[in-house]
């Protein structure tokens, strides 16, 4: 599995949120969301940074294309460099705003099959409200303000770029 990992923050982000535990990966092959979460929580616990409140979201690729025909696969394009930078900036800003303590983002790139996890967001905070709100806001930011593009490959052989996202 090829993973582009951004475990450390750039100098400017570190100054803003030096206590945030942040891990952002773009995964070019399938990832197991629960194994990722378990490992992340284990890492946090090992440094005494586990949280009382943990909110997670896992998005999986649907079986149907937006036109109602069977979906063969989604193709995920991104903007190497900007996508990682944007994810890290958005996560740092939102975790700071909500007072969250930890943030895990895993996002697929490349060809993703129906049923496969395409995105995982995990937020740890001291209270459930901030954890839940931060997880929601980060998911929206990731869907609307991070350079990812989805192309649907359909069973009739056609491929079409999606314009925007499914409604909230």
């Amino acid at each position: 599995m090829t993973v582009m990992s951004l475990h450390s923050s750039p100098p400017s982000a570190v100054a803003e949120a030096e206590d945030l535990q942040l891990k952002v990966d773009l995964c070019s092959e399938a990832f197991e969301p629960f194994a990722c979460l378990e490992q992340w929580h284990r890492q946090l616990a090992a440094i005494g940074r586990w949280s009382a409140a943990n909110s997670h979201f896992i998005g999986r690729v649907r079986s149907m294309a937006t036109n109602g025909t069977p979906l063969l696969a989604l193709e995920l394009e991104h903007y190497p460099g900007m996508t990682e930078r944007q994810l890290q900036q958005l996560a740092t800003a939102l975790c700071s705003r909500h007072g969250a303590d930890s943030c895990l983002i895993q996002h697929r790139i490349g060809r993703v099959l129906p049923g496969d996890a395409i995105v995982l967001v995990g937020i740890g905070a001291d209270r459930r409200g901030p954890a839940q709100r931060c997880c929601q806001d980060l998911l929206e930011a990731l869907k609307h303000d991070t350079p990812f593009w989805k192309r649907e490959w359909r069973s009739d052989g056609t491929g079409e770029w999606l314009i925007g996202n499914t409604p909230l």
Partner: protein
């Protein structure tokens, strides 16, 4: 047009916009006579398809406006509607 600079401006397209335009990357040799074009000017000069208002503009991996002056060595990207997550 004047003499192109050493670096010029790197222009990138993605996803549907890339396919409509038929190219993904272009080098714009910033002329000495007009060293700071804006993304809007390049969009028109390159005759890119569709409306500029439907895409977002990034310079050096940061979102910005279509009227931000570019500089030698900048990377400009036109981003069609995003669909992440």
């Amino acid at each position: 047009m004047g003499e192109p600079s050493a670096e010029g401006i790197r222009i990138r397209l993605f996803a549907g916009l890339r396919e409509q335009a038929g190219w993904s990357e272009h080098h714009w040799p910033a002329p000495a006579a007009h060293p700071h074009p804006t993304p809007r000017q390049l969009w028109l000069a390159l005759q890119l398809p569709g409306e500029l208002s439907s895409v977002r503009v990034a310079i050096n991996h940061e979102f910005t406006t279509a009227d931000t002056p570019l500089h030698d060595g900048d990377e400009l990207a036109f981003l069609p509607p995003i669909s992440g997550g």
